[in-house]
Symmetry: C2
Subunit: 385 residues, 2 copies
């Protein structure tokens, strides 16, 4: 196991009817800005529950945070924050709303010229408004972690600061019952690939981390398809297991003390940035190709994955590895997401531009060994055609 520091301070309130806990979780004297997306929370009752819980608070709202939240949209919040002297943000939505709210929180307190500089130029985040969140779509893990991804002019980039970690997160699986199949699929696949990025590297004999990661993968494989099946789309237990697995997949725990990859995500971000493909659907396309191109570097963990996740114990090493990759692709297909670039209408002719963007964004030494150069990324994209 590698040395590590780990802390996750977010207070989690999990379960049905927990939105009411925000009444006590946010200081009574706070001036709250409720941030949300396109308004689905007004149709599924979540907005009303939040309004009810905040009935004794002074609050305002900022809506319209889109998937892959953009700098331009998010910056519009700053005038409202100044005007009303906002000192607490409550994000109500999925990972994009939470990520966008993290940007808003840091931007509101940023002392430099342009808040984009703490994203693109690594300027330090010294202060941020406190954040709470009500999660409506289990997927990104953003509800308890310190990272966020925002987009400007087709550049989709991450930033990190413990100051933007939510103070609390309400996880009520009941609010996910109104999600579309596509949203559920994307969430399950996102959480699955988050786990793989921290698991499928090289072994450092981190037995707890490996077992925990495997536990999340098995849970997502078992519960994901049920959430799409006609006879159990209203199953709260299934939704609860998916929600808790997605939070655990990216709260820092399974990645503490082990190497991490993230090449799939970095390559995937370019597909979203350039072509607007749903984040999870970029991951389901890129991950199988990464597994194929990086088989040698990941051999030991691929064999462990084959055995512990897919019960593959027969045949030689390569047979088991190939079968495990095949079964991963089949799982993605069951979850109704693409596994090839051709399925999202991209071809060989699109690869040059993607590689140029990766290079421009400094993503030239990706993966757990830092050896995925733009040339290897090209090989991965070709494999994904």
């Amino acid at each position: 196991m590698l040395n590590f520091s780990f802390q996750n301070t977010t207070q989690i309130h999990f379960g049905e009817d927990q939105i009411k806990t925000i009444r006590k979780a946010i200081p009574k004297t706070a001036k709250v800005l409720v941030t949300y997306g396109g308004g689905s929370i007004k149709n599924n009752g979540v907005y009303d529950q939040v309004a009810q819980a905040l009935s004794e608070h002074t609050w305002f709202e900022f809506s319209g945070i889109e998937p892959n939240p953009s700098y331009d949209t998010l910056m519009k919040s700053q005038a409202i924050i100044r005007e009303h002297d906002i000192d607490f943000l409550l994000a109500v939505g999925g990972g994009s709303v939470v990520d966008g709210t993290k940007f808003i929180a840091a931007a509101a307190k940023f002392e430099g010229d342009d808040p984009w500089d703490f994203v693109a130029k690594g300027q330090p985040i010294k202060q941020a408004l406190p954040i709470g969140c009500v999660l409506t779509l289990p997927a990104t893990g953003s509800e308890t972690n310190a990272g966020a991804v925002v987009t400007r002019d087709g550049n989709k980039l991450p930033f990190f600061s413990p100051l933007v970690r939510p103070l609390f997160a309400v996880l009520d699986p009941a609010v996910t019952l109104s999600l579309s199949d596509r949203q559920i699929s994307n969430g399950v696949v996102d959480a699955f690939v988050h786990t793989m990025e921290q698991y499928l590297t090289y072994s450092v004999n981190g037995k707890v981390q490996d077992r925990f990661a495997e536990g999340l993968l098995l849970t997502l494989i078992e519960e994901g398809p049920k959430a799409l099946a006609a006879d159990s789309t209203d199953d709260l237990e299934v939704r609860g297991n998916i929600m808790w697995a997605a939070t655990m997949a990216l709260n820092g725990l399974i990645g503490a003390g082990v190497p991490q990859d993230w090449a799939t995500h970095m390559i995937g971000h370019e597909l979203t940035g350039a072509h607007g493909i749903d984040h999870a659907r970029t991951l389901s396309i890129v991950l199988p190709a990464v597994m194929k191109v990086c088989t040698d570097a990941k051999r030991e963990k691929l064999l462990q994955y084959a055995e512990r996740i897919w019960n593959l114990t027969e045949g030689d090493d390569d047979t088991r590895i190939n079968r495990a990759i095949e079964l991963t692709e089949q799982f993605f297909e069951t979850m109704q997401v693409p596994t090839r670039l051709s399925q999202v209408d991209l071809g060989e002719g699109d690869i040059d531009a993607l590689i140029a963007k990766l290079t421009q964004h400094g993503m030239v030494k990706l993966g757990e060994h830092g050896v995925i150069t733009p040339e290897v990324s090209r090989e991965i994209l070709v494999k994904a055609l």
Copy 2:
């Protein structure tokens, strides 16, 4: 899954040579009281590492905290705290030192007549001195949780407060290399039973919690015996896995959203209180008997445990359950701890007094269903003869 709230704020610094992090983790202006046990930290170099890390701090020390720390010992710290105006406690030791330091922290700020009242009479803990810790014996999980157990006049009782949760915990597996076989055995068994208390109840379909608990059990079964084997007693990876598993076994995570038992612990506490038996050795005696007496209530989880931990898939339900209990006992024997009262020289004649103590301590409705009355506890102790 049941509704739950979960938060664990402790900052963990894990790995070799991490003791030095306390230099920055404790405010420079703090007046620190370093608390420890019988002095083994002076022989294994830990005391020197701590002294080195605190070279720029003002610090004092309080030693002599014994296993199953006693009220009388712990209260001696209060004069030192008042005399030197101590405002930070650094516990350096195993679970007993950390537990004892939690009591010291709350006692120093207690405004009632007698600090024992927040243990025995449920008086509220409104303030506590901040605590950091350097763990030297992986076992109890106390390093990141909010609970502690202290003993007065043979009464061993728990208390809880988020105010006594350590701010940080240094987990350096290298410091555990000097532990005796008995200490290692006790630690592994303690962590194993902590996991079982939160796992072996009835199913609420908490898939992540179950998989995580199983991951800890498998890790302890794999690594525990290695830590005792002559050819790998210096294996840092083994020690690291045991240390991380023990922390995870009782940091609140695997128990969030699932029923919990704790009958084994409560009955075990009476064995320690009355007869001074090592805590873990009371657990290894009581747990198998609880599994036998409560088979029906725990049937579904026993079958899951049999399959996922011991790979038992052949034979009828009762055969698999009995074999799983047998294998649990064999694991304890491999870890060199007793599984019967007779092995610690106790017999049927001792049971009445134990049951009287349990009753006196209000432990009359134990277990995940609250149906383990003193009569059932008696049955359990008879089964453990």
